[in-house]
């Protein structure tokens, strides 16, 4: 038995279970809050900040917010949407996201949210970092140009003893995802598949298959859904 609490989201009053993460809870009721770093049952990390809402007058990320009685959430005010758009733009300009040549195009969460928020021309200057591709690991390659450092792979991809396959090196703008070479033997095609799947962008790509699903049949190629039908955690 979980307690119920009443919260408001964009002025609409709804009943939700208490002490649950806001983002997943309201998604079930058809309120879309975008996210890139939050994923299914993983511990929320709060890296992407794209789920920022205004809650009780304060900007907070919905992945970290816990439902409580009387919580007032602003999810679609211009202020919130503008902030999200700007954060999204920051992600686009800090990397090199060239959708037309990306295998993940049409299956990419970043691209999908970009469309949703109608990002066309970026207002911020592109940083055009020089980043390489690392194909030293078996079955999986890292395309650094596309990595948004969400840490889904770090949190979600582990071996049977809970050892991580992925780590971060450096800090600040030089932060870089690395596959632990001592885990290479354990990086099976199954693990590589799971890693490519958990990656919201095209940074982790299974080696060999490339463009397996033809354009037109990909997830986001379908006609846009109504907002109320949208699922966030897919």
């Amino acid at each position: 038995m979980t307690d119920e609490v009443t919260i408001t989201i964009d002025g609409e009053s709804i009943k939700v279970p208490a002490n649950q993460p806001l983002i997943a809870t309201v998604a079930k009721l058809g309120h879309y809050i975008p996210t890139l770093c939050d994923y299914k049952d993983l511990m929320p990390a709060g890296t992407c900040r794209i789920c920022t809402v205004k809650a009780n007058g304060k900007f907070q990320t919905a992945c970290m917010l816990i439902t409580s009685e009387g919580l007032e959430v602003e999810n679609s005010s211009d202020e919130v949407l503008d902030l999200r758009k700007s954060i999204l733009e920051m992600m686009f300009v800090e990397g090199n996201h060239i959708c037309p040549v990306c295998e993940k195009s049409g299956n990419c969460d970043l691209q999908s949210i970009g469309y949703r928020y109608q990002l066309t021309v970026h207002k911020f200057p592109h940083l055009y970092p020089k980043r390489k591709l690392d194909a030293s690991a078996p079955n999986l390659m890292v395309e650094y140009n596309r990595c948004i450092q969400c840490r889904r792979c770090i949190r979600g991809i582990r071996d049977e003893d809970d050892n991580a396959f992925f780590f971060f090196e450096n800090r600040g703008y030089n932060v870089k995802l690395v596959i632990d070479p001592s885990m290479f033997d354990k990086l099976t095609p199954q693990i590589a598949n799971a890693a490519a799947k958990i990656c919201p962008v095209g940074a982790l790509m299974k080696k060999e298959p490339g463009y397996q699903i033809p354009i037109g049949k990909r997830h986001y190629d379908k006609p846009p859904k109504l907002k109320s039908e949208e699922k966030t955690h897919e």
């Binding site: 992407c48 900007f59 780590f167």
Partner: protein
């Protein structure tokens, strides 16, 4: 491990340290200091004896500024990049080092004798231009002095261990003689909860800048089952701050007594001093004070026959401003990358090794001995209604007498300027880049929690200074020190620097300033931790208070100035032809 040197090093240095994850930074420091880098064979050595993988260790090594996988030279020189060093001639000093050694910043001489690097503020803003050479401070540097210092090290000698403590004004609270035994005897007549109550009533607030009441922090912590831990936050990294340097040099006994008092109040078994690597020159003298306290029976089992057993040890930082944030400090103390944690849970519940932990600023803890000794009424006569006690201020920049001053809370900015001998002051940066930039029309404001809270830094800029260059230095600081965890801080600090560079190069337009303001606000609103949420401050405040400094550098007529420089782009090709 193959060489005799390795065997001896392991026996004599590593043998004394337990190979726990929480000791990782201490172990890495021993290796870095001995071999001037972290050799792969030692990473393997550690992996064989712990549950860590090489990549897990790489990820830690690469986070901290002072650890390196490549040799940093037998004598490693770190130049201070803070604004006060820049203002006193860091550029000439940098050039003098480069010329003298025949290398550029970031390089090591071919014989591996000298390495030349840069680092953020090292707590010597009153003695700049400054550098650290194998953990020892080189102060008041000039081109001539650089040459002497190099000669000194080439001859096998070293600089003196300590800089000047430079305490120019002390008051009732700090740098007092304390009779340790008498104090602790008095302490043990109180119940721990009474000490918490006393500190709550005293109104003592955190001196790091945030001003959280110390007693309430302990009370939260006491709500959770122990073991509990106390941390003294000695990671004073806010540029322009050096008051903890003075406390560590001249008042270590008071600090440790404060840690004992706090530990007693908390019901802790252990206290840690987290010491920033820039202050390692104090390590030996601090250990000596601890040894004396142990010898007198003031630390250890059942102190002075009471039921209270307590030990203090020192944890090492390794060059990361972010570790001054309490949850990042805890991560670092656990031997991890110094990335702040998500809260809740708060450290009071889930801190060091998952246990209830209180992190207090050094200066906060140094208040406790006199408070216990002289009592509540005496203590509360100092300061203002909401800001009891005094404040240590690190005065630096354009004034005759930079140094450490103790002022009662409520002192005005103008009073401090007068006492320090500052003339023609244009702006003062209070609490460092993350704090508040104030202009001359605000000099009647008061240093206290009701008006201008101060973490310690008080950096003065006179009329000759270019505000935009100061802001650029601060913006650069945040870019260098961002941990990179969340998007707004990681990308936003870089974008701010791009736009500032463009403006300083005379290629800016009015729209760029709006964008600077917008990005700075996003960084402040949307970042995850306190570093990010203040990283936009220099931009937002300077645009508000010193708008003219920007306006005169950007074109008001043009909407776009090309950053593309045809001549510059063709230069290399032309040189190739001719």
């Amino acid at each position: 491990m193959n060489s005799i040197r390795d065997t001896i090093f392991i026996r004599e240095k590593l043998g004394a340290v337990k190979l726990y994850r929480s000791n990782l930074l201490k172990i890495l420091w021993a290796i870095q200091d001995e071999y001037r880098h972290i050799p792969q064979r030692f990473i393997r050595y550690l992996c064989d004896r712990t549950e860590l993988t090489p990549e897990a260790i790489h990820s830690v090594v690469s986070f901290y500024h002072f650890f390196s996988l490549e040799h940093r030279g037998d004598i490693t020189i770190y130049l201070d990049t803070s604004i006060t060093s820049e203002m006193t001639g860091a550029a000439e000093v940098r050039k003098a080092f480069e010329d003298e050694l025949g290398i550029k910043v970031g390089e090591v001489t071919s014989d591996m004798q000298f390495g030349l690097f840069e680092t953020s503020c090292m707590g010597l803003s009153d003695q700049g231009p400054a550098a650290l050479i194998n953990h020892r401070p080189a102060t008041f540097l000039t081109a001539k002095k650089v040459s002497d210092v190099i000669k000194l090290y080439k001859s096998g000698s070293k600089l003196p261990r300590f800089p000047k403590a430079n305490i120019l004004k002390s008051g009732p609270i700090f740098f007092q003689e304390i009779k340790a035994k008498k104090l602790l005897k008095k302490l043990f007549t109180y119940d721990p909860v009474d000490v918490v109550e006393l500190v709550k009533q005293s109104g003592l607030k955190g001196r790091g800048g945030a001003g959280f009441p110390a007693g309430i922090k302990w009370e939260f912590c006491r709500n959770y089952e122990g073991p509990r831990y106390l941390f003294a936050n000695g990671d004073e990294g806010e540029p322009g701050t050096f008051k903890d340097r003075a406390l560590l040099m001249k008042s270590a006994k008071s600090l440790f007594l404060g840690m004992i008092i706090a530990g007693y109040a908390l019901g802790a078994m252990r206290g840690y001093l987290y010491l920033r690597a820039e202050y390692f020159y104090m390590l030996e003298s601090l250990e000596e004070v601890l040894t004396k306290l142990r010898r007198k029976g003031l630390l250890g089992q059942q102190i002075l026959g009471s039921n209270f057993s307590y030990e203090i040890s020192i944890k090492f930082g390794a060059g990361a401003y972010i570790c001054g944030a309490e949850t990042a400090l805890i991560e670092s103390a656990e031997g991890k990358r110094g990335e702040p944690r998500n809260r809740p849970p708060f450290p009071a519940q889930n801190g060091y090794l998952g246990k209830p932990t209180a992190v207090n600023n050094l200066e906060t803890l140094c208040n406790l001995p006199v408070l216990i000794d002289k009592g509540l009424d005496w203590y509360m006569q100092f300061g203002t209604q909401e800001s009891t006690g005094t404040k240590l201020i690190s005065v630096a920049g354009d004034c005759d007498k930079p140094g450490v001053y103790e002022f009662e809370h409520g002192v005005s900015v103008q009073d401090i300027l007068n006492i320090a001998g500052a003339k023609n002051t244009r702006a003062v940066q209070i609490s460092g880049p993350a704090g508040t930039l104030i202009a001359s029309n605000e000099f009647d404001r008061k240093i206290c929690f009701e008006d201008l809270p101060c973490g310690g830094a008080f950096t003065i800029f006179n009329d000759d200074r270019v505000i935009l260059e100061i802001i650029k230095n601060h913006a650069n600081f945040f870019m260098e020190e961002s941990c990179g965890f969340c998007v707004p801080c990681r990308a936003g600090t870089v974008l701010i620097n791009e736009l500032l560079d463009k403006t300083l190069a005379g290629k800016g337009v009015a729209k760029d300033l709006e964008q600077l303001n917008e990005i700075a606000n996003i960084v402040n609103i949307a970042s995850r931790c306190g570093l990010g949420r203040t990283a936009g401050n220099p931009i937002i405040q300077s645009l508000e208070k010193f708008r003219d400094s920007y306006d005169k550098r950007v074109s008001q007529e043009l909407e776009f100035i090309s950053e593309f420089d045809l001549e510059e782009s063709l230069r290399k090709a032309r040189e190739g032809i001719s």
